[in-house]
Symmetry: C2
Subunit: 242 residues, 2 copies
Amino acid sequence: MPSATRPQAKAPTPRERARAQTIADIVRIGRQHLALHGAAALSLRAVARDLGVVSSAVYRYVENRDELLTLLLVDAYNELGDAVDAAVDALPEDDFAGRFHALGHAVRGWALREPACYALLFGSPVPGYKAPGEQTIVPGTRVVYRLVRNFDAAHRAGALAAPAGPAVVVPEKLARDLAAIRTGLGLEVPEDLVTRGVLIWTSLFGAVSFEVFGQYGADTFAARDELFAHQLGLLAGIIGLV
Amino acid sequence: MPSATRPQAKAPTPRERARAQTIADIVRIGRQHLALHGAAALSLRAVARDLGVVSSAVYRYVENRDELLTLLLVDAYNELGDAVDAAVDALPEDDFAGRFHALGHAVRGWALREPACYALLFGSPVPGYKAPGEQTIVPGTRVVYRLVRNFDAAHRAGALAAPAGPAVVVPEKLARDLAAIRTGLGLEVPEDLVTRGVLIWTSLFGAVSFEVFGQYGADTFAARDELFAHQLGLLAGIIGLV
DNA sequence: CAACAAAAGAGAGCATTGCTCTTGACTTAA
DNA sequence: TTAAGTCAAGAGCAATGCTCTCTTTTGTTG
């Protein structure tokens, strides 16, 4: 079957090319507005103005404000995921502790560089907006998967010291959740360490959120880099990563 | 000097009483709207409608939308602080671990009960809104002060086990910040444990935020109560609180 | 008790938003 | 060439925050 009969499959028509370019422009301008004025102030009319077009014309390309938010959400998730991947991949596979620190610093660095995007991903949910799972789940889980896979690899390599404190018993109901996670990701790390990994995950973003959202007082911590590095070290200790 | 000569000092005039009552009503209705539709959707016009008054009349009592947000912010901080105080004070002073767990569960319980208020306090900052420090600092620091004071009391009582891992060295720049905190609060706990307290603080709110803001997948964790309790236990271990 | 001044409410109005609808122009394919 | 599909423009609707003016209420005071 010649390609001319299915133009939308192989060769994009000029129309489709122009349309894709316009959508890309809308996302680009939307990101600028997001960074400048925050998610709640994201206005389709303002994007249309910057695009040099009347407001109603934008609705030819984007269903509504929520769809633009979804586009920006996926964009941001992937940018964060790319930053984390690049930082982690820069270190050797068996440098588990180094990779953990690299991941943490990559998250914090991106969050401080793009606070509005970070707020869109990890801040208060935008009221009335429900992220469509089919588009956001995969990019939204890149970081946490990378984190636990690193822990799992460290465990397989015998690089995780046994937890210091007394053996913590995991309640059965929680154990079922953890079992599903372990089989779903193919993890070998024991369930107690999975909970520690989850705690490290939430704690990492807790620390970053406090800094990005200004929960630390204006001048309580001058040495924020050092504070965060120190916190990462303490978190690594939770799971026995030296 | 009889009180009649200074009516505004001792006995509030009927006008002042009515005015205070109206402001209280505005805050009450504002809290309802906040809980129902979120902070970004908080509308002075809607509050005016519920108050049975035309929109411009509300501006007699509240300067603008930001001032109403500040009122709600202080209200929420104090409600959270009261909940935490009540939970902590219900346990004996020397039950340091119990008090820590009570504090954590009080924070989480209030956050799940009032997700919109929690988002206002600990979520993404409202764009274009800057909380006036002179009104929010004191109520905003109640929880963290309560937390570190509990750790300090445990340390004074010798109830903190020595940290398990190798002694972590605190960089000098960070040490200066910690010294300021210790003298400012009159803490005896050593600086290394202050950093652990800070990590526990941010981690606690990180865990709560993930749950309230829906960062956990829809069905990744069915046993959220158990997960949080487990996380609190791990956090207590960081500072050696058995 | 009545007059007055301050406070409060009402309502119109402006600029902004998201979004819909219709109309006309333009591009592409048959 | 013509018919179908696409796009931009503009008007319009219901909201919003906020300001202004005018009127009414209300507490105080001579």
